[in-house]
């Protein structure tokens, strides 16, 4: 497997009022293409900060991060935007669906900002893949939480990203809907997609190949499941 993500001695500090917060301390790790990685740890341990840095939304104060052969610290704002559009798919706990757009239009939303066009048929394929073929013309407020998250996952996949980043993807779902999302993530992983998920769900964490345990901004454990 080729290396997709490399973090070397990454540290991230920021100020919260008068307090200096050390969100990440000297993190180094490598993630290969096709890996399924879960990031776990208590609140405030730096999980989301790590995800944001890998997702090119934030840059470290120290260290370097390489994503798909690009050194993120060397990229300008425009290149970072292209990286987010074309290399990464994001899924969040809150779904962030546009309330005035149908499920299909929400899935197509990232294509407005990327180089890829005319993806109508791909949107229909993704709707089928997440089991919502008959819900494409529905607005978000006509969908259940689980359906909304499946739309959000389909939207993250529309630009055929190399990496799927999921921050608490089942955090707002009941167990039945959460199971459907676990199964979907498993399926995507089996198809070769690289997935990194931050989660408090032991079940989701246990489905990943690798588990990164963060505590106070440092990697506490990294173990291979099974």
């Amino acid at each position: 497997m080729s290396n997709l993500i490399t973090l070397k001695n990454v540290s991230k500090n920021y100020r919260r009022g008068r307090e200096q917060v050390h969100a990440l301390n000297d993190i180094s790790l490598e993630i290969n293409a096709g890996d399924f990685v879960s990031v776990v740890g208590p609140s405030g341990s730096g999980k989301s900060t790590l995800l944001n840095i890998i997702g090119a939304m934030d840059l470290p104060n120290e260290g370097s991060i390489q994503l798909a052969d690009k050194e993120l610290g060397q990229l300008n704002e425009k290149e970072l935007t292209h990286t987010r559009a074309d290399v990464i798919g994001f899924v969040f706990q809150q779904f962030f669906l546009q309330p005035t757009l149908t499920a299909r239009e929400n899935i197509l939303l990232p294509t407005l900002f990327s180089q890829q066009k005319n993806l109508q048929s791909r949107a229909d394929e993704l709707l089928a893949r997440v089991g919502l073929s008959d819900r494409g013309d529905h607005l978000p407020d006509e969908l259940s939480g689980g359906e909304m998250q499946r739309v959000a996952i389909a939207r993250a996949l529309i630009n055929q990203p190399k990496l799927l980043l999921a921050d608490e993807p089942t955090g707002n779902l009941d167990s039945q809907n959460a199971q459907a999302i676990y199964a979907l993530l498993d399926e995507l992983h089996n198809d070769g997609l690289t997935i990194i998920t931050v989660t408090h769900s032991e079940e989701l964490a246990s489905r990943a190949q690798y588990r990164i345990h963060l505590r106070d901004g440092s990697i506490d454990k990294e173990k291979l499941n099974g």
Binding site: T100, L112, R155
Partner: protein, 385 residues
């Protein structure tokens, strides 16, 4: 789907707010349309009326001849009088086609409203070729012709008697002017000799209206008339300038109102869009997460603002056109001198200019909210959960 349709959908999320903002822009656009139409319409109507009137110059006595001329045209008592002997002398000047004597007087009615009497000679009709009279021209010394509005207010028709207690005189309505849309509609016309008699100004005139046989001989004729004693001559162009100057303050007031309306609308649009931007900062931040550039977000917000202002512009101009007759009437009542004819007509150039201006305002109003939105942080979007 594209950024433009996304903008439309965003506006639909806040129907009431978008509608009210659009209405605000619409009011400003309607005011702008009416002002631009008025400015061109007034000048055109004035020129038409002047050329229709056939009066190339007005002869008055010492004092302010321009004031006398404008009073003669829009109604007002000229304080000094011309010796009636000047009328035949002016008529005899070579190059004069028609010279007609005018005597203007006003009466204040019980409600404090002034009514104006015009004593005019028979050849006054030559200077008002566009007049259409229901009934007849003066049939006897005690006949009177009423302007359309005067007849409406006095509730008189042809053949009726009308009595004025202040001058203890009764007249028979021989004719009623068809509506001209000008000041003429409000006047009471008497035979010149009758007016001189009832107002006790025998042998006196307020002014003499002169029509030339050949306009190119204007300077020559003017020079000759000015050799007569106590006589001042005012040209049609000078009268037009005088009328323009007495309406200038009204025009300035209207421009000020339009500027205020546009400014309020401009700030209203900024406020509305900025409020929406603050509400949608997380959405914009999330769009940044999924690949939107600051330019995409900026365009999205500016499109929304443009749509609001374009919609408001079209709405406002449409209202301006639909209600142009009401605005027209209001302006005729408001202005110190209103020539006949419509001020507000649908000129495609003014329609397009008003809508384009509204759109330009939208473009400018969208800049600040657009920049604010463009700087939405993807980090903030996902952090403040």
């Amino acid at each position: 789907m594209n950024l433009f349709t996304l903008s439309i959908k965003n506006l639909q999320r806040r129907k009431l707010r978008s509608g009210l903002t659009m209405a605000g822009v619409g009011i400003a656009a309607a005011a702008l349309f009416s002002l631009l139409s008025f400015n061109t319409g007034f000048d055109r109507a004035l020129k038409e009326e002047m050329s229709n009137s056939g009066i190339h110059m007005l002869v008055s006595t010492e004092g302010c001849p321009l004031e006398a001329a404008s009073l003669a045209l829009h109604g007002g008592e000229i304080p000094k009088f011309l010796d009636g002997r000047r009328l035949p002398e002016v008529s005899d000047v070579p190059g004069v086609r028609t010279a007609t004597g005018l005597l203007i007087f006003s009466l204040i009615e019980d409600e404090g409203k002034a009514i104006f009497f015009y004593g005019v000679g028979d050849n006054y009709r030559d200077l008002k070729p566009h007049w259409k009279i229901d009934g007849e021209w003066f049939t006897s010394p005690d006949s009177i012709i009423l302007g359309a509005e005067a007849a409406r207010v006095e509730k008189r028709k042809v053949g009726d008697k009308v009595y004025f207690p202040d001058i203890d005189a009764e007249f028979t309505v021989s004719g009623i002017l068809q509506r001209t849309g000008s000041e003429d509609d409000g006047f009471f016309y008497l035979p010149l000799a009758t007016a001189q008699k009832v107002f006790k100004k025998e042998g006196k005139l307020s002014a003499v209206g002169v029509s030339l046989a050949n306009v190119e001989e204007f300077d020559q004729v003017k020079g000759q008339i000015e050799t007569l004693p106590d006589v001042y001559v005012v040209s049609r162009d000078q009268i037009m300038q005088q009328i323009s100057s007495i309406t200038a303050s009204s025009k300035t007031l209207m421009v000020a109102v339009v500027i205020v309306a546009i400014t309020v609308s401009f700030l209203g649009v900024i406020n509305t869009v900025l409020m929406s931007v603050f509400e949608m900062l997380r959405e914009f931040g999330y769009m940044r997460c999924i690949g939107a550039s600051p330019g995409h977000i900026f365009r999205l917000v500016v499109f929304e603002t443009l749509l609001l202002c374009l919609g408001g512009g079209i709405l406002g101009v449409s209202f301006g056109i639909v209600f142009s007759s009401i605005t027209d009437q209001w302006l005729h009542d408001l202005l110190p001198y209103a020539p006949a004819g419509d001020f507000i007509s649908v000129d495609p150039v003014i329609v397009i200019a008003s809508i384009l201006f509204s759109t330009l305002v939208g473009l400018l109003a969208g800049i600040i909210p657009g920049l604010k939105a463009a700087h939405a942080s993807p980090m903030e979007a996902v952090r403040n959960v």
